[in-house]
Symmetry: C2
Subunit: 430 residues, 2 copies
């Protein structure tokens, strides 16, 4: 019924807008015809001791000028053909980032967290079982969300710094019938990388009906994910990490198998805003470069996401090389930390993320010795987050432009700041 | 427990960022020090027949250059003191727009629709009664949302073009115990204005425990709302209408009475992303200009909202004069329509919105005769939306800068385009 209502509404929205020209002009002489490039400028840290030039946090990450410029697009109707075409491109390019041919993307105004609600409300019915693989803080939150919607949740917990072993996943999946298994690809609290390909392989082999749900908030576009080849059913993420866009967009991609499970559910979806019943006709309309209405999409952010996807999918660096660039940036940061005698939170290279690094403070130094000094050098990093070790480590993000556009020199700057900071901090204690 | 976890986490986020300088520079000569004003330019409609210069739709509305510029703010950490202070200001200024001293604002990444989920999930427990006053399309949607979360919903429906009469509200409220009564201040489908002050007065008098919930998506900052004086418990809205910001921000303000009702609920909140249990500690932290984490806020959009609120609250036009400007713009558009012999959807001036106008096509003309012609003249309007009359009328938005900044000449342009369009359309049928 909704689909019909939407379709009939769309037919009377006869908007047609020009591709809005968008130029900046010289303020003094008001010559509107003269263009002037849009460039973000931060204050140089050398002259402003408290300035911070690099968002070296695991999101929101540094975004390119082109993306910011697109985020300042003049107002456009969400029902206009121009916007519909941009939205349609975003759906298709999102699919490409995940190497999927026919999975269903959902682009909805919201934080990454809304992806958990989408999974919990649409794919799991009250009383059904969910298996959560725990490699850090965000598994607890996903479990909390699933329980809110009535799921029975079991967690398999890895020790801090490790991912859940595939053998443990196999044991758990054989013990009980699970509707879904969730795995955090990169847990932002620990920088632990899980082997989602391995988890999916185990699930397909020992519990083929269980849907494999990947929390890819801190991994999409910084770590390789091959949804179709690996048999992954859901990847949920957000705009402000590897996808290089300001925050505010919940991005979820569901396999057709997952969509069928949703379509065959026996009980109604228990969320309104996160309901695929509402959003599926909308995404289908935009996919056909048409427009449909359930709730007003974040128009400007969609333009910004489009600009970033174009850089990711159609830019000078291929998607494969983008993953390599993240590995190289990661290798450099982790090598620098090791050269300083610092230990990372992930227990081995196999479980180490490529888009961020979590580093224990050395003996005798604390957050207050390290983080403010990095800040003075223009590098913003994040403190600890995992409850059991939160005061003992800090986190550096190196995703998107920071990892891929080596001309920026972000990684050099992070490493230099780290070297200088550790030397100063140790000297201050001597 | 969450509050504790959040508090402890916050303490280790020791970010401190400079107020990011943000300048544009001349691209040709790369003189970064020379400033260049950020101005949005649209193509003149005279040279491009398909161009559209004015978003004359009831949202997303035209936004100012300063707001767009703020939306292009370089990446900032959501945990930084700079951002926290901006977020805190947004909370305080949101309260000011509604003339409230101590109501609780929630600013969450999402569409306006998410406000319905917040009300339905936090304030109404499954099996409780909700009364929905129907003055158009959006009441049906709000009712649908309430039912999704288990409420028993009764609707009192006004005839098309009218608001529900206070006597009918009184009868309904006396017939049954209702947890909440909802009223759409301006229904975007009909441009009908409801007397929310009157509804609140009736509720307080005959059913004092019933919470009065105002859907103010199409009214906040374009129509006067005095939350405290009028005894309103919830106002929910979105960023892209009277508040003059790009879409993507769900804005809800709850009275302390409503917060108490939420705190005293017997059953757990049945949404995760819309749960005030999650968001209340976050809003409290930002109110104190600190930061806390549940889900990453839409950082850039908060900067944009801040810029718009500064113009609304601290700009050269007072809030009172802003409402007057909307009335004047509305009077001009409606007068022009009347002079053309056109009839508005609202049945009387008393129930006519000031931020938009819904106009029936004259006999013999249809959407296809009018809307494309307006588009050619650079005025984007919206088609019909209310199911029973949707092909018979169109809608013009005149909120925010379009109504208040008369130097823009938007209203003149809309009226001229309307006059020319009707003359041409009639001539083509002669």
């Amino acid at each position: 019924m909704l689909a019909l209502r939407v379709a009939s509404r769309r037919s009377v929205f006869l908007y047609s807008l020009v591709s809005a020209l968008f130029q900046t002009s010289l303020s003094k002489i008001r010559k509107m015809s003269q263009e002037c490039k849009f460039v973000q400028v931060r204050s140089p840290s050398s002259t402003t001791p408290t300035s911070a030039d690099i968002q070296g946090i695991p999101g929101p990450i540094e975004v390119t000028d082109e993306v910011l410029y697109a985020n300042a697009h003049p107002s456009m109707s969400h029902m206009s053909p121009d916007f519909a075409s941009v939205f349609g491109n975003c759906l298709r390019m999102t699919r490409q980032v995940l190497y999927s041919k026919n999975a269903q993307p959902f682009l909805i105004a919201g934080s990454g967290t809304l992806g958990w609600d989408q999974v919990s409300a649409n794919l799991v019915e009250p009383g059904e079982n969910a298996l959560v693989l725990h490699s850090g803080y965000f598994a607890d939150s996903f479990a909390d969300c699933l329980q809110t919607y009535g799921a029975n949740v079991d967690q398999v917990k890895a020790e801090v710094g490790d991912a859940v072993k595939e053998s443990d996943v196999e044991t758990a999946l054989k013990s009980k019938k699970y509707k879904i298994v969730t795995v955090t690809h990169v847990d932002t609290s620990t920088a632990v990388l899980s082997n989602i390909k391995g988890v999916a392989e185990v699930a397909r082999r020992v519990s083929p009906d269980t849907l494999v749900v990947v929390d890819g908030v801190c991994s999409v576009a910084s770590e390789e994910i091959r949804m179709d080849d690996w048999g992954i059913d859901v990847v949920l993420t957000a705009s402000q990490k590897g996808l290089g866009t300001p925050p505010g967009l919940s991005i979820l991609v569901a396999s057709q198998r997952a969509i069928k499970v949703y379509e065959n559910r026996k009980t109604p979806v228990t969320s309104y805003y996160a309901s695929w019943k509402k959003w599926l006709p909308i995404m289908n309309a935009y996919e056909r470069n048409g427009a449909a209405y359930f709730a007003t999409p974040p128009v400007n952010l969609i333009y910004a996401y489009h600009a970033s996807l174009q850089q990711i999918i159609q830019g000078s660096v291929s998607l494969e090389d983008r993953f390599k660039a993240h590995k190289e940036a990661s290798r450099r940061v982790k090598h620098a930390a090791a050269a300083l005698g610092l230990r990372c939170v992930p227990l081995s290279e196999d479980v180490s993320a490529n888009g961020m690094t979590a580093i224990y403070f050395p003996d005798g130094l604390a957050a207050s010795d390290v983080i403010p000094r990095l800040l003075k050098k223009g590098v913003v990093v994040a403190g600890g987050l995992h409850a059991s070790i939160k005061d003992k480590y800090f986190r550096i993000g190196h995703m998107g432009a920071t990892a891929v556009d080596t001309k920026r020199g972000d990684i050099d700057r992070v490493i230099n700041a780290l070297n200088e900071t550790l030397a100063e901090a140790k000297a201050s204690k001597a």
